[in-house]
C-alpha cells in the first residue's frame, strides 16, 4: 500500500464521516459546517488526483461562497432550533434502502469498469489553467455560454422575488384573486 492509497483512504473516510454527520446532526449550523468539511476533503482528493485548479475552485466556490450563504440563511432563520421528528413516517428507512441501492449501482460500475487496483491514479493530461481555458473556450464554448445565462437567470429571479412592495394606499384591502396580476399597477 503506497502512501497515496493510505492518504486517500483516510480522506475518503473523513469525507464519508462528515457526510453522515451532516445528515444525522440535529443542529442545522453543525450540519452546514460538516458539509464544509466534506467539501474541503473532496478538494484535497482532487488535489491528490493531480487537478489543482479544480481543487482550488472547489474550495473557493463550494466551501467559500455557497456554504457561507447557506450559513448566512440558517443563522438568520434560527436553524439551530429545528423541530425534531418528521411528519411522514418511514422516510429514514426508505432513504437508507435507496442509499444502499445506489451504493450497489456504484459498486457494480466499479467492478465492471476497471477492476479494483486503480483506486488512486493521477492524470496524465495537462491540467494547468491555460490548458483548461483552451478546452473551455473551444470545445465547450456553448455549455460555457449557457452556464453564464443560467447564472443571469438566477440573478434576475433573486431580484424579482425579493422586490419590495410599493407603499400601499390606505383603504385598499389586500386583493386576493381578483385579477391575475397580484400587485398594484
Amino acid at each position: 500500500m503506497s502512501p497515496a492509497v493510505i492518504i486517500f483512504i483516510v480522506l475518503a473516510l473523513v469525507a464519508v464521516a462528515c457526510a453522515v454527520a451532516m445528515l444525522v446532526s440535529k443542529n442545522a449550523v453543525y450540519s452546514a459546517l460538516f458539509l464544509v468539511l466534506n467539501f474541503a476533503t473532496i478538494g484535497v482528493i482532487y488535489l491528490m488526483l493531480g487537478a489543482p485548479f479544480i481543487a482550488v475552485a472547489q474550495i473557493t466556490v463550494y466551501a467559500g461562497a455557497i456554504m457561507v450563504l447557506f450559513l448566512f440563511v440558517i443563522m438568520l432563520l434560527g436553524g439551530e432550533n429545528l423541530r425534531l421528528g418528521e411528519p411522514l413516517r418511514g422516510q429514514r428507512l426508505i432513504g437508507l434502502i435507496f442509499g444502499a441501492v445506489l451504493l450497489a449501482e456504484i459498486v457494480l460500475l466499479l467492478i465492471f469498469r476497471s477492476g479494483m487496483d486503480q483506486m488512486v491514479g493521477t492524470l496524465t493530461i495537462d491540467t494547468s489553467p491555460a490548458a483548461l481555458g483552451l478546452e473551455m473556450f473551444n470545445k465547450y464554448s456553448l455549455p460555457f455560454e449557457v452556464t453564464s445565462l443560467v447564472l443571469l437567470v438566477a440573478v434576475i429571479g433573486a431580484v424579482i422575488l425579493t422586490r419590495v412592495d410599493p407603499i400601499r394606499r390606505p383603504g385598499k384591502p389586500d386583493q386576493d384573486r381578483k385579477d391575475q396580476s397580484g400587485r398594484q399597477a
Binding site: V56, I59, G64, E80, P129
Partner: protein, 330 residues
C-alpha cells in the same frame, strides 16, 4: 526538501506574529502623531515593549463564555479566523534564489502555478471565523455584526478577485513568482491604475478596516462580532485582523508594486526581502493614515458601493486590459 519547507513555514509564521505585534505599535504611534499626541512610549525605549505588555495583559484576563453560547464553536471561532490569515502568505515570494556557501535556497516557500487562485480560496474561507463568532456568542449585536461583516466580505471578494485578473493577464500566469518577475521593468501599478485602486479599496473592506469597519464599530454595534470575547480569544481575533492587514499589504506589494524587485536585486538577492519589507511598511502607513482621516461609511452605502460601483468598474478594467493586450500584441 521537507526540512526546508518546515523552516520556511516556521519563519513565515514567526514573522507574521512578530509583525502583528509591531504593526499594532506602529499604528498606535502613527495614529497618535496624526492626532497630535505621542502614543505609547513608556514600555521600553520608544514603547517597543508595549506589544509584549499588551500580550501579557491579555493572557492574564479572565475568559468568559456567555451563558447558552455554543461552547465548541465559541472556542473554535478565533482559531478558524487566525489560520487563514497565517497561511495566506504561503505563496508570496520574498525574493529570488539565494546562494549561501554553494547551496541554492529559494526565498519563497512554494511556487504553485495557481498562486492567485490559492489567495482567492483562502480569502473565501476566512469569512467563516467571523460568521461563527458572531453566531455562537448568543448575542443579538454579535450576530448582527457577524452577519454584516460576512456580507461585506463576500461582496468585496468579487471586486478583489477581479482586480487580480489584471496582473494575471499582463504577466500571462497565475503564479506569483512569474508576476513579480514580469514587473522587472515597470511595476503594475502604472499599467493597472484602476486595478490597483480597486484592489486597495477591496482589501480594506476584506480586512474590515476603517473606513469600512462598520462590523466592528465600537460606537454603533458595541464592537460587533467579538463583543463577547475576552482574554486570549480576543487576542486571537485582534491578531487575525492585523495579520490579515500585513498579508494584504504583502499581496498588494507583490501584485502591483513589484514585490521584491528593486535596484540591484539581481546581484544581491538578499535585498529582495528588504525591498518587500519597505513596500509593506509604506502600504501599512497609508492604511493607518486612512484610518486616522476618514469617517466610517454607513453599511448600506458600503454595500451599494461594493456592488454598484466597484464591481462594474472591476469588470470594465478586466475588459479594457484584455482588449488592450490583444491589440498591443501579447
Amino acid at each position: 526538501m521537507l526540512v526546508e519547507w518546515i523552516i520556511k513555514s516556521v519563519v513565515i509564521v514567526l514573522f507574521m506574529t512578530a509583525g502583528f505585534a509591531y504593526v499594532t505599535l506602529y499604528e498606535r504611534r502613527l495614529l497618535a502623531r496624526m492626532q497630535t499626541r505621542i502614543g505609547p512610549n513608556r514600555a521600553g525605549p520608544f514603547g517597543l515593549l508595549q506589544p509584549v505588555a499588551d500580550g501579557i495583559k491579555l493572557i492574564f484576563k479572565e475568559e468568559l463564555v456567555p451563558h447558552n453560547a455554543d461552547k465548541l464553536i465559541f472556542t473554535l471561532a478565533p482559531v478558524i479566523t487566525v489560520i487563514p490569515a497565517l497561511i495566506i502568505t504561503a505563496v508570496i515570494p520574498w525574493g529570488d534564489t539565494l546562494t549561501i556557501g554553494g547551496t541554492k535556497i529559494t526565498l519563497y516557500l512554494t511556487d504553485v502555478n495557481i498562486g492567485i487562485l490559492y489567495l482567492m480560496a483562502v480569502t473565501s474561507i476566512s469569512v467563516y471565523g467571523i460568521t461563527l463568532a458572531g453566531w455562537s456568542s448568543n448575542n443579538k449585536y454579535a450576530l448582527l455584526g457577524g452577519l454584516r461583516a460576512t456580507a461585506q466580505m463576500i461582496s468585496y471578494e468579487l471586486a478583489l478577485g477581479l482586480s487580480f485578473v489584471g496582473p494575471i493577464l499582463i504577466a500571462g500566469s497565475m503564479s506569483l513568482l512569474d508576476i513579480v518577475k514580469a514587473q522587472s521593468s515597470i511595476p503594475f501599478i502604472l499599467l493597472q491604475p484602476a486595478g490597483f485602486i480597486i484592489f486597495f479599496l477591496a482589501s480594506l473592506a476584506e480586512v474590515n478596516r476603517a473606513p469600512f469597519d462598520m462590523p466592528e464599530a465600537e460606537q454603533e454595534l458595541t464592537a460587533g462580532y467579538h463583543v463577547e470575547y475576552s482574554g486570549m480569544k480576543f487576542a486571537l481575533f485582534f491578531m487575525a485582523e492585523y495579520i490579515k492587514l500585513i498579508a494584504v499589504a504583502m499581496i498588494g506589494s507583490t501584485l502591483f508594486l513589484g514585490g521584491y524587485q528593486g535596484p540591484f536585486v539581481d546581484q544581491f538577492p538578499i535585498l529582495g526581502p528588504v525591498y518587500l519589507f519597505a513596500k509593506v511598511i509604506i502600504w501599512l502607513g497609508v492604511f493607518i493614515w486612512l484610518r486616522a482621516t476618514l469617517p466610517r461609511i454607513r453599511y448600506d452605502r458600503l454595500m451599494a458601493f461594493g456592488w454598484k460601483i466597484m464591481f462594474p468598474i472591476a469588470l470594465l478594467n478586466v475588459l479594457v486590459t484584455a482588449v488592450v493586450l490583444v491589440l498591443v500584441g501579447g
